[in-house]
Chain length 84, copies 2
């Protein structure tokens, strides 16, 4: 799994990041989400975030790892006595 500098895997992507991957306008990505073509969740402020696993699967880059699987691997979900 791709790890960031802080050892936390990238799970969500911003509209701009998705747009760069597909080489489309960020506005187009928003329309994909609005029309249900691409699943997304929203921040408390209403901005969209996309599941990296969805994007990877669509791009055919990686054998899809489930969203839950990715989240489970986050260190903050480990038992507190085994952190760090």
């Amino acid at each position: 799994m791709a790890l960031r500098h802080n050892n936390i895997p990238d799970v969500l992507l911003t509209p701009a990041e998705v747009a760069k991957l597909f080489k489309v306008n960020p506005k187009t990505v928003a329309r994909w989400a609005a029309s249900g073509k691409l699943d997304s969740l929203k921040t408390m402020g209403g901005h969209r975030r996309f599941w990296k696993s969805d994007i990877d699967r669509i791009l055919g880059i990686k054998p899809a790892e489930t969203r839950i699987g990715q989240l489970r691997n986050l260190s903050i979900f480990e038992p507190e006595d085994k952190r760090r």
Copy 2:
């Protein structure tokens, strides 16, 4: 294990942890709390902590799919109207 106001066992997350989960800046999480969009409590030093169950729910993760969620699924911790 921290107990929430409704006596349901829960886990607390720091602003940085919540920020990573939502792929936003920690300062954004602080704004959510300051504006009442996200429930939080404050440590004795004035720093915020967030309820993991809140984050899970917003992210669209079913309780059964998380560690703490497994505990919450015990019927004795479930609200009457939601027991199964």
